[in-house]
């Protein structure tokens, strides 16, 4: 039995069934990601003042990925155009480029995840602070933190909990001359060692409020970041699998039912644009704000 309305529009909806299906699916996706974005907003609004992290993300990687994903959106429409124009070589080429771009995106994302999983953060204890800590220092761990009673950290940044309103340090001039001095904090010993140009700090565990790698448990930001970017990446992998099917076995339909095949590419393209659209929001919200 032939499935009706795979090419021609249904008279009552005005669109072919595949298109109706994808729009309904995308509507449900809006609710899924909408719920997660709402979670992000409330986590951020609910965070004690000045504690929401800033500057922990690789903004250049995020920017690069934005352009890559945007470019893949163009190539998926070019793929559809090639099918419409009965250009099989063009279809294959454009779809291959789309897949390549999505692999680049996922590669950069994996690189970013890997970097985060090896980055360590230490929150210094401060009894006078309403949140229990005053400063977080981030960097790379150089010792066995499970065994030792201290943490050796090649420090690359620090952030006071009230960073938005933090007064300028009295030692600003000295810090300019010796940037390592910015880590001159109670409970932190600046050693003579350097690791990749960064000063190595010795932090006693008793002065640590809490510490961990940049994994979901590190803070609310990373919890929501991994959830949302991970879900986004899963959508990309799903799209990639469909593209791969069209590029290989599914491409037979190009020669047998081209109009239907063009519609299949179109609905997959709509899904792909939606994935791009989600990234439009993820990039500024997670990296720039």
């Amino acid at each position: 039995m032939e499935i009706p309305y795979t090419v021609k529009p249904r008279p009552d909806t005005g669109v072919y069934n595949g298109k109706l299906g994808i729009w309904l699916f995308l509507a449900s996706e809006v609710m899924l990601f909408g719920g997660l974005f709402a979670s992000y907003i409330f986590l951020r609004l609910g965070a004690p003042e000045g504690t929401w992290p800033n500057g922990l993300m690789n903004v250049w990687a995020g920017f690069f990925n934005s352009i890559i994903l945007l470019l893949s959106s163009v190539f998926v429409t070019m793929t559809w155009a090639a099918v419409k124009l009965n250009d099989f070589k063009g279809f294959k080429r454009n779809l291959a480029i789309t897949m390549l771009l999505s692999l680049v995106f996922l590669g950069v994302k994996s690189y970013e995840y890997n970097q985060k999983f090896h980055h360590y953060g230490v929150f210094l204890k401060d009894a006078s602070s309403p949140v229990g800590w005053s400063v977080q220092i981030t960097g790379h761990v150089l010792n066995n933190i499970e065994k030792d009673d201290h943490i050796l950290l090649a420090a690359d940044a620090y952030q006071p909990s009230d960073w938005r309103s933090a007064p300028k340090s009295e030692n600003a001039d000295k810090i300019k001359e010796n940037p390592a001095l910015r880590f001159a904090l109670p409970g932190v010993e600046i050693t003579e060692e350097k690791h990749d140009g960064e000063p190595v700090l010795k932090i006693d565990k008793k002065d640590v409020f809490r510490s961990s790698y940049f994994v979901p448990k590190y803070n609310s930001f990373f919890a929501i970041y991994y959830t949302m970017s991970g879900l986004h990446a899963l959508h990309m992998i799903g799209g990639l699998v469909v593209f791969l099917y069209f590029w290989t076995f599914g491409s037979k339909m190009f020669h047998t039912h081209r109009a239907q095949f063009a519609n299949r590419i179109e609905v997959t393209g709509l899904f792909w644009h939606f994935v791009d659209l989600i990234w439009f929001f993820l990039f500024p919200v997670m990296y720039l704000m």
Binding site: V15, W23, A38, V74, K84, F280, P284, L288
Partner: protein
Amino acid sequence: MADNHSHTPEADLSHEEAAEVHTHVRHYWKTFWVLSLMTVVMFGCYFIPMPATANEIAVLGITALKSIIAAFFFMHLIGARKFVHQVLVFTAIFAVFLLGLSLLAFMDHTHVAFF
């Protein structure tokens, strides 16, 4: 079925239909350049020293505009059927409802009033 269109050698599309597809492709590239430029501007805002609120407004404003452009031109919402628009209007209502309810619960819980 009678077809008054003349056909291109490359396809069983009429010249008019093929020209329409080529026009679409040109529009896609234009859309790409506009969206890329907006992404660059948005990224630039990150480096410009400004109050956090101003930065958030600028960044989210550009993002909203980018989404509208992408939805209209890449996803063809500009010429979509009424039924698709109806689906999206319902989705928007539910999304606002979802956010509104959560916001009310948040305000109740934290005793913070946003409006």
